[in-house]
């Protein structure tokens, strides 16, 4: 008998994610994976899992799961949210052992947008093209969770690490993303508009990308750019001038200029910015 999680409520969006499927761009498949990769890795480290073990990415809280089969250990990281087991507060960033029949609930986050519920052993749903990641753009991978889904948990092979304190992420209210000038920065009339504007994450944002409102990065050129590779963190400017910051499920290639690229670890922070929240950019040099 091995442990399971039965989904009792999903909230707005709950997805199984690991670290994605790199290396398939040639056939039009992006990497996908956890939007906040550092938080997924942290949860897995706390539990002694491989850092890329699959977990549930919970957007804006609302997930309720019931433990079946046998007892298990879980950990919640990412967006800070009240976590309860059968109504009792248990907190985040620590391993929590729960008995069969327990209900684990993640309420709406007080800080951030996406929480990660990882279980010791990792979720054992079938892999698609080598990954247990739902890609909302490519419509690939384990389907979005629905009430009644039963998620198998892999049997545990490694000892639980003796981690008794994990640093909590700092939730600085001012989100400042470090960015390197992009390969097509010269396609913007004034690319510094990016760093002098206070941007607001639009509600038309998802795992593909965050649309930014509050200013316009004007194009300096009329011509069309041949399609170029896109990667997470790329800031692309469509003709409207309103930038899009690409997240985990970005398209593989795109035809609008990439005027900036956000530093990898700051993309994790960007993935925690909810609709209506503000952010700014700061230039840094390429390594």
């Amino acid at each position: 008998m091995s442990a399971t999680l039965t989904v009792r409520a999903t909230g707005p969006l709950a997805l199984v994610e690991d670290l994605g499927r790199p290396g398939l761009a040639g056939i039009g498949v992006g990497r996908s994976g956890a939007a906040d990769r550092a938080s997924l890795r942290l949860a897995n480290r706390v539990l002694g899992n491989e850092e890329g073990a699959a977990a549930v990415e919970v957007t804006a809280g609302g997930l309720v799961v019931e433990v079946g089969g046998e007892e298990l250990t879980f950990c919640v990281t990412g967006a800070r949210c009240p976590v309860t087991v059968d109504g009792r507060d248990v907190g985040t960033h620590d391993p929590v052992r729960v008995a069969v029949g327990s209900r684990v609930r993640l309420a709406a986050p007080t800080h951030g947008l996406r929480s990660y519920l990882a279980v010791r052993g990792g979720l054992d749903v079938p892999a698609v093209l080598g990954a247990r990641s739902h890609d909302v753009l490519a419509h690939l991978g384990p389907a979005p969770l629905r009430e009644g889904d039963v998620l198998p948990v892999r049997a545990v092979e490694r000892p639980l690490p003796g981690v008794d304190h994990v640093p909590w992420p700092r939730w600085d209210p001012d989100v400042v993303l470090r960015a390197v000038r992009g390969p097509r920065a010269d396609w913007a009339r004034d690319v510094d508009v990016l760093t002098t504007t206070v941007w607001t994450a639009s509600d038309r944002s998802n795992r593909v990308g965050m649309r930014l409102a509050g200013g316009r990065v004007e194009h300096a050129r009329e011509e069309q750019l041949p399609s170029e590779g896109i990667w997470r963190g790329a800031v692309q400017v469509p003709p409207s001038g309103e930038p899009v910051l690409f997240l985990a499920d970005h398209p593989v290639t795109g035809g609008y200029p990439v005027v900036a690229v956000v530093v990898g670890e700051d993309v994790d922070r960007a993935a925690q910015v909810g609709p209506g929240e503000r952010l700014t950019f700061r230039w840094v040099e390429a390594p």
Binding site: G23, A25, G26, I27, V180, P183, P226, S227, I230
Partner: protein, 205 residues
């Protein structure tokens, strides 16, 4: 080759043309260097992403050391996929007008050359195909369609392509194929992968 910084994890190599980009992508693939975490070939560029835990400078060094050899379009060794097409597309007349050819000549030009998959994108299983000449180079439609069926065979710019699944799209449609371009239960799931050669075969109008 010009190397452009792409954040702290990747480098964008910009080439003179599509041929050079295909050659560089093939050379990076062949080198199979552990510092490469992902490779995104595109129209004139190749984006090379450093593997996790690897400094991006290693990717820069690798790109500087490669000596890409132009691919031979007539390479008989490359895999060849035949795509049967019923030439009943809604934009056939428009393509004839835009190219100055008759409809029959459009079909003959489409079936009469060997295409090659240059790069992927847009959707899983979608390959951007380059041909041997410019006869069929046409702009995208002025207005995109909200719904293009799976198997639709189209043209846009210098490329031909086949929609692997129903989706919105702005390509000029020549016809359709019943061939499954994308099948997760097949290995590999995509028929059209970079380097694969393609012949379109008329299966009716």
């Amino acid at each position: 080759m010009r190397l452009l910084p792409y954040g702290d994890r990747a480098v964008l190599a910009e080439l003179a043309d599509g041929e050079e980009a295909m050659a560089l992508a093939a050379a990076v693939r062949e080198a199979a260097a552990p510092c490469v975490g992902a490779l995104v070939p595109a129209a004139r560029t190749v984006l090379v992403v450093a593997a996790d835990g690897t400094a991006v400078e290693e990717v820069t060094r690798l790109l500087g050391s490669l000596r890409p050899v132009p691919l031979d379009p007539a390479d008989e060794g490359a895999e060849l996929v035949e795509v049967p097409v019923r030439y009943d597309g809604e934009d056939l007349e428009d393509v004839a007008r835009l190219t100055g050819l008759s409809v029959a000549e459009v079909v003959a030009a489409h079936t009469g050359q060997t295409w090659r998959v240059a790069f992927g994108g847009f959707a899983p299983g979608f390959g951007y195909l380059v041909g041997e000449d410019e006869r069929l180079h046409v702009p995208r439609r002025e207005e995109s369609r909200t719904r293009v069926p799976a198997g639709a065979v189209g043209l846009a710019g210098e490329y031909a392509g086949v929609y692997p699944r129903e989706s919105p799209g702005g390509w000029q449609l020549l016809g359709h194929t019943d061939l499954a371009l994308w099948d997760l239960d097949r290995d590999p799931p995509a028929l059209l992968r970079p380097g694969v050669r393609v012949r379109f075969v008329e299966a009716g109008r």
